[in-house]
């Protein structure tokens, strides 16, 4: 029992990072649909920079910097042009798929798995530290949302942007900031996945970005209930892995589970009920 709980807590870290990132953007009213692509892109960049520098920390920092900068540019474009945030997020996912395949081919000479160990870089990231960081972030986010001006304004930017405008505050700045924070959290998730495997694999996120969006709504848009939602999803993933291991479930079918699960949550929780703005028109 204890090993199972430990395994679930360890497995939950990347999804928790992603969920918290998506939560920030959802509170600002611009749900980060790009999480899935941003996780894969940052994972690819983390491996590339780690191979270049020999340091996982430098690899993570550089990957996070690039991902945040990229999403900052997209957020700025979205705000300046009034683009649909959902389509903008989807285009990031598509772009990430193309860019990672280009980066993988041009830098590593393969579109398949890029293993750090076989290229002479040893990475030993302690699982406990990553898990603690993820759960620590959940507590930190709960405190920021509850007790800081930034957290309060972020929430108002999502529910009543006009109220902020009337007070002379730019809601657009909070929306852009929320995407940058989401991009950083996606980088944490992508790096945790890549370093956990010790390799970059195509479609690294495996739908976790979409599961994260579902967890946000299953957790009623609050950080600590989101932790419970993430643990529930991770326990389901853990059981699925066991089933796959004993040959009870084809691996191809598992690829669709995060999306099916996300759709089921949206049907059950009905996040659009009583809401007008944002992507839940």
């Amino acid at each position: 029992m204890i090993p199972s709980i430990t395994a679930i807590l360890t497995m939950a870290a990347p999804l928790l990072f992603a969920t918290l990132g998506a939560l920030v953007s959802e509170r600002a009213g611009v749900l980060a649909v790009f999480m899935d692509g941003a996780i894969t892109l940052s994972g690819c960049l983390a491996i590339a920079f780690t191979l270049a520098t020999g340091s996982p920390l430098a690899g993570f920092a550089a990957a996070a910097g690039c991902t945040v900068l990229f999403l900052f540019a997209v957020a700025l474009f979205t705000e300046r042009t009034g683009a649909n945030p959902f389509l903008a997020g989807l285009s990031v996912n598509l772009f990430a798929a193309g860019l990672t395949s280009w980066l993988s081919s041009s830098l590593f000479g393969t579109r398949g798995v890029v293993d750090l160990a076989s290229r002479g870089v040893a990475v030993a990231v302690p699982n406990m530290a990553v898990t603690s960081a993820a759960f620590g972030c959940a507590v930190l986010f709960a405190l920021v949302f509850r007790f800081t001006t930034f957290g309060l304004r972020l929430g108002v930017a999502g529910t009543s942007a006009r109220a902020l405008s009337v007070r002379g505050i730019f809601p657009a700045r909070y929306r852009v900031a929320s995407w940058c924070i989401a991009a950083f959290m996606a980088s944490c998730a992508g790096s945790a996945l890549a370093f956990g495997l010790g390799a970059y694999v195509p479609n690294l996120s495996a739908g976790r970005g979409w599961t994260a969006l579902a967890a946000v709504f299953l957790g009623y848009r609050r950080p600590l209930p989101c932790v419970a939602a993430v643990l529930l999803f991770t326990a389901a993933e853990y059981i699925t892995n066991i089933l796959q291991g004993i040959g009870g479930l084809p691996s191809t079918l598992i690829l669709g589970l995060p999306y099916a699960l996300a759709l089921l949550v949206f049907v059950l929780v009905r996040p659009g009920a009583g809401r007008k703005p944002g992507i839940f028109r």
């Binding site: 042009t81 959902f86 989807l90 280009w102 081919s105 730019f170 999306y259 659009g272 839940f280």
Partner: protein, 348 residues
């Protein structure tokens, strides 16, 4: 002229970005770019296949445009092409060894066509129903339903329904008498291009000149006003989405009967996204869908051709689709006077 600014900017940006990627991927950038611009027109094989691809794109793009006109985003195009394609392949491969006769053959062909269209329509109807009943954005539900179904379809094609006698991850080929013959051999260009063009024109005329078309457009622009005017807004939106799915289903049908003759793994291959991009470039106008599908088909064929002379391959289609989708999604490009304070999120 201003109305063409956004589509032209989107296409131009997509073109620019992909040429940069291609040039960076090649040891001979000039040669690669020459291939990019000339290869699609260098032979009947390239030109015919490009036109064939444009026909399939135009068919699905007309569907996307109808959904957009009715006020809905249909992001489930991939599965709405793939699933009907699989159904078509299964029905038309079932009677392979025995000649069905003219009437029997026509009946089976029509049955496969109807099944494909209905399957596509159903897959689009579900998100429309969820929107009408539970206020769940069809943007999310149509995408998630499609993304959840694609691995299932891949599993079926590569597993239980696979042709065990071949090494391909594909279903058994359809019978020869069900295949739509090419009009310009050796390319695959066939009558489906003209069907697509005809349906786009019919859709355009219905939307512009008929009562149902008017009601659909009004519902898309102002659903509350449509309800006030007594139009069944929810029903019209559902009809728009279902029609969109039906046309995607028809695309899957023609992809099997006119192009592939088998349903292989990953049949849709990004076609749903390209169709949506084509509809957005056409500004949801079915009449403009044909040229916009031609442009996109050229862009994809040119990229594929140029990739042959690069050092390595990559997922170029996703990059083109992403750039076009991002640029075209902008309501107010910073190129025109529409770029007001509201779009920038300035305080009042």
């Amino acid at each position: 002229m201003r109305r063409f600014l956004a589509p032209l900017t989107a296409i131009g940006t997509g073109l620019l970005v992909i040429t940069v990627f291609l040039a960076l991927s090649s040891e001979d950038p000039a040669g690669t770019l020459r291939q990019f611009f000339t290869r699609p027109f260098s032979s009947w094989w390239h030109l015919g296949n490009m036109l064939n691809m444009a026909g399939l794109l135009a068919l699905a793009a007309t569907g996307s445009a109808i959904a957009l006109k009715s006020g809905s985003f249909n992001l489930g195009g991939e599965a709405q092409i793939y699933a009907p394609g699989l159904i078509t392949a299964l029905i038309l491969a079932a009677g392979r060894g025995t000649e069905p006769g003219l009437m029997g053959g026509m009946a089976v062909f029509a049955g496969a066509l109807a099944a494909a269209v209905i399957a596509g329509a159903l897959l689009a109807f579900v998100p429309a129903l969820l929107k009408a009943r539970a206020n769940i954005s069809e943007l999310l539900s149509s995408f998630l339903l499609s993304a959840a179904l694609l691995p299932v379809l891949d599993y079926l094609v590569g597993g239980p329904l696979r042709d065990q006698s071949k090494n391909l991850l594909a279903t058994p080929p359809i019978a020869a008498w069900f295949r739509i013959h090419p009009l310009a051999r050796p390319s695959l260009f066939n009558v489906s291009f003209f069907v697509a063009a005809g349906l786009a024109v019919i859709a355009g005329v219905i939307l512009r000149k008929t009562g149902p078309g008017y009601r659909l457009r009004v519902t898309g622009i102002a659903p509350d006003f449509a309800r006030f005017a007594g139009f069944p807004a929810n029903g019209i939106a559902m009809a728009g989405m279902s029609l969109s799915g039906a046309l995607h289903g028809l695309t899957g049908f023609f992809a099997i009967t006119g192009t592939w003759y088998v349903c292989h793994q990953g049949l849709s291959g990004g076609m749903g996204w390209s169709a949506l991009a084509a509809a957005l470039i056409a500004r949801q106008n079915p009449f403009a869908v044909i040229p916009s599908a031609l442009l996109l088909a050229w862009l994809e064929t040119a990229t594929d051709s140029a990739l042959l002379s690069t050092r390595f391959g990559f997922d170029s289609t996703s990059i083109v689709q992403a750039v076009i989708l991002l640029v075209i999604s902008a309501r107010a490009l910073p190129l025109g006077p529409a770029n007001g304070r509201a779009a920038r999120g300035k305080p009042a």
